[in-house]
Amino acid sequence: MTNQLVPPRLTATQDLEALLDAAVDAIIVIDHSSHILTFNHAAERLFGYAQEQVLGQDISMLMPAPYKAAHAGYVDAYLNTGHARIIGIGREISARRRDGSVFPAALSVGKIGDANPPRFVGFIHDISARKAAEESLRQSESLLRNAQSIAQLGNYEYVYPDGVISWSDEMYHLLGLPKASGPLHIKELGQRFVHADDTAHFDRICTHAYTTFDRFDFEFRIHRYDGAVRYIHSQGTVHPHPAGAHVTGTLHDITDRKLAEDELRIGQERLTHVARLSTMGEMAAGLAHEINQPLTAIATYAQAAVRLMDSPDGADPVDLRDALLQIVAQSLRAGEVIRRLRGFVKTRAANSERLEINRLIEDIRILAGSDARVNDIRLILDLDPRAPGVAGDPIQLQQVLLNLIRNAIDATCECPGALRELTVTTRPLGDGVEVAVIDHAGGIPESVAQHLFNPFFTTKETGTGLGLAISRSIITAHRGKLGYRPTPGGGTSFFFTLPQLVGV
């Protein structure tokens, strides 16, 4: 039994040949003077030579120029010193095909037994595909790095609470951190970099995201490593993880955009303020009248009271008391006009709050009504109690209303014989409310209509031409629409819509 299992010598040679032929890698054996002794099928395929063409030839024929010369030196050096530069280590080399083309290859070399003179076996594996993939990866990483640098957007991946999985280079740049410091744990990021005023916000959103596995998308400020304050937009997704939460996200430095937005917002607020002052200027006659009336009553009551007291019969205390109470009431009336006026003309930042549109309109009845009255026009409010709540800036919306009323007053005054009446209406729409200011001033001529919303276009002698343009931009900022339509009987209805306040 045992004898039959011992392979004969001939069989061993056959096995070796089969092994050589089946091998996927090129296998080449050379002698101590670099002559090729063995060249397997894979080698033939790889280099494009037939076995007969290379046997006995110098191995350097398979190498491109710079390696060619060096090779003989390596072999000699090994033979003289016994110092292996490659044997048992393997390295990446460049190899040359028969057609002259060069390709990257992995080479591992072994010395064959105790053969004397020594022989060496080399295994050569084409690594072009791997190299190409590596190069492509390197390129796309470089592209990504460039893109992130240009966009000022860094990405990261970490497991909460364990630690960071990956951090892009731009993350360091964003925070002003030296790359050598290594990625920061999210807790450290929060503690060291997030602006003191934003930490509560930051912590709340992170905690919520990590516990509910919700997407997150929010903004906060950081103190960069160099102390500069930057605005960061953070977006990401969270997935459950055995350790807690797996978080993937981006940080985006939006400081430049923020500053530009701020500039724009401040510019718009100034312009809006100027337009408001201008509207007030146009309403000055009405406002003066509205303050002059109570002043007249106060002066007259007081003078009457003095005369009553001076009269020989003595004053009736009931009359005196009534006069004094009226003086108080009229003082408050004048004060109220001034209070509303001050609220309206002061410089302020826009803000959004919950509003009842009907109340907002009631609140400007004094300002608008006095303007109408001095122009001998009746102001009628026709407010639908079903008008829904809206969100917006009360002063800006009142500004739009006053501007529309002011325009309607001017139009009525310039239209002889027009019905001297203005109506302000509210009515609920499907998903909001429409507010309209309706006049009977004969409609808008075509030549005027086409420029109506252009800034600096005006038909008034002293107009700025900003009223309607700014009114429209205010309403657009409130996600509404401002427009006009002719009304039956020769008038115009200027209207604006506002979306209903959601979640109420």
Binding site: A285, A288, H289, N292, Q293, P294, L295, T296, A297, I298, A299, T300, Y301, Q303, A304, A305, R307, L308, S311, D319, D322, A323, Q326, A329, Q330, R333, R373, V374, D376, I377, R378
Partner: protein, 205 residues
């Protein structure tokens, strides 16, 4: 003036201004009636009642100026003291051109208003005394030249100076001179007063 009971009619749409005026005039012992609109006053108007009108120039609906025009059309002779706000001077001037006694700006000193009112009451009394003396009117009309009579007739028919000049084939300036002479000879304080005198005289004939 002391003998004739005369009333101050106050027309102002502002409740506070109106009631304060009522108290002020009451405090100096003047009989007052107040109205919140020109129309309300017109509805209650009686040409025979003596007195004067204290009238707000700006009011919704019928303005003070429109009421003055209506009263002139009715040949009412009630004197008017206008009360005006700031910036109403052009309107006040127009009111004066149409025969108002004076105008006074809000807010006003009580004495100033009372003086104007007294002035208006005197005018009213004089007008009424003048009206009462039909014989005197007719006598004064007798002093007019034939050309002045012609001018009087045309003026009281409401014709403008320009039209009268054309009708009589004289210059407008000549008409103005005749007209002034007529007013002077007749002792008329206003066109309305003149018309009233002519009506009175015709009634007597």
């Amino acid at each position: 003036m002391k003998d004739t009971p005369s009333t101050i009619f106050v027309v102002d749409d502002d409740d506070a201004v109106r009631t304060s005026l009522r108290l002020l005039l009451k405090s100096v012992g003047l009989p007052v009636e107040t109205f919140s609109s020109a129309q309300e006053f017109l509805d209650a108007f009686d040409a025979e009642r003596a007195g004067c009108l204290v009238l707000d120039i700006r009011m919704p609906g019928m303005s003070g100026l429109e009421l003055q025009q209506k009263l002139n059309e009715m040949h009412a002779i009630i004197p008017i003291v206008f009360i005006t706000g700031h910036g109403d001077v052009p309107m006040a001037v127009e009111a004066m051109q149409h025969g108002a006694i004076d105008f006074i700006q809000k807010p006003f000193r009580d004495q100033e208003l009372i003086d104007r009112i007294n002035q208006a009451r005197e005018t009213d009394q004089k007008n009424r005394e003048g009206l009462g003396e039909r014989d005197a009117i007719i006598k004064r009309m007798g002093h007019l030249t034939p050309r002045e009579r012609e001018v009087l007739n045309l003026v009281t028919k409401g014709k403008a100076n320009k039209v009268i000049a054309f009708d009589l084939s004289v210059s407008q300036r000549t008409v103005e001179i005749h007209r002034a002479r007529v007013m002077e000879k007749m002792g008329a304080s206003s066109l309305a007063h003149l018309v009233r005198m002519v009506l009175e005289a015709e009634r007597a004939i």
